[in-house]
Symmetry: C2
Subunit: 185 residues, 2 copies
DNA sequence: ATTAAACAACCAACCAGTTAGTTAGGCCCA
DNA sequence: TGGGCCTAACTAACTGGTTGGTTGTTTAAT
């Protein structure tokens, strides 16, 4: 095992950054802590990612890429898509937190191109589905996408005061799928 | 106009705190900035609210109280309830941000009693509605509440990369109401 | 095959500016 | 005149970011 390897170090920094940013957000994250978890010196973060914000962007982009890759999209079977979104965030709740923090803390001058492109391709696919009459035309494509996203992640947007009342993952998943089916009918 | 008035000062601190915390979260908020906006000395915040977290809790509680008061709840007409939720957060987007930050940043040892109480009363009301067959029994009460909440605030949970595609408030409101009706049918 | 130069990866220590929180005392009204 | 309201000034600790130098790795001429 080599002692010096830029790619390996970058990857470890990114992983540590995702963890720290997901837990505490941009303002709450501590660069020193990320460096420590990554097992390297703080100066490396600055060498590779410029500054704290640059590191967040890199970490979030990496996280999103993974997500898009794993979840995919399918206008022909939107309930299944919603199920995959639900499953992904059930398995990786930190990724949802990360994206929430992105919404809250990033001043959105230039949107991430990767996301813009994916958004557009999904809208297109939905609209094709509508023309082919396999997708309801009662909502606009954006509305539909937004509703499905919100439903699939509905549990994580609840206030935490429900606590004990919160049903288990299986029940919640069923509710999500049923809700999406009803929206589409 | 009197120059000294504890209640008035407290209220101005609270208002300034809501603004600052909504914009930047707990970690990102600056106590000095809150004091400046409130037009008083920083020491007053500490005299009245103990510390930064205490101030956040007070600000958030005040915000929630206002919200619960204004929006209310009605198990007999859930689409209308969803509409009111939508309208409230359309008019006060900062309140939604505040509650998101509460979810993300607050270590939930003791939940806010006010919220617990309201949650419970809503669940009870929903269950009564189910027994009276005016509310669908296809979902559990918690699931239903969670879904409606998510749908009513769905637009604010979207990633910001949609930008230009985002429809206007009227269209979005219609989508929310229709979605809730479909869920309930 | 050696070796020396060139380069890339890495780090300990430091810095200037910022932050939450405190203190000691002044001011105002009853 | 006394107690609650208010402030300027302060501090100890922390934070993002930098610097100057060290060490491992590759390259290429000998």
């Amino acid at each position: 095992m080599q002692q010096r390897n830029a790619d390996r170090t970058k990857a470890r920094i990114l992983a540590a950054a995702i963890e720290e940013f997901a837990a505490r957000g941009i303002a709450g994250a501590r660069v020193d802590r990320i460096a420590e978890v990554a097992g390297c010196n703080k100066a490396m973060l600055y060498a590779y990612f410029g500054n704290k914000d640059g590191l967040f962007d890199a970490a979030f982009s990496a996280s999103v890429e993974q997500y898009l890759d794993e979840v995919g999209f399918d206008a022909d079977d939107l309930p299944a898509y919603a199920g995959r979104v639900f499953d992904y965030f059930e398995a990786h709740p930190d990724r949802l937190r990360l994206s929430t923090w992105y919404r809250l803390e990033r001043p959105h001058g230039q949107p991430l191109e990767a996301i813009v492109a994916v958004n557009q391709s999904r809208l297109d696919e939905l609209q094709r589905g509508m023309r082919r009459r396999v997708v309801t035309r009662q909502f606009s494509a954006v509305s539909l996408l937004s509703l499905i996203q919100a439903i699939a992640t509905s549990w994580s947007s609840m206030n935490p005061e429900y606590g004990a009342d919160e049903p288990n993952a299986t029940v919640r998943r069923r509710a999500v799928l049923m809700a999406v089916q009803k929206i589409l009918s």
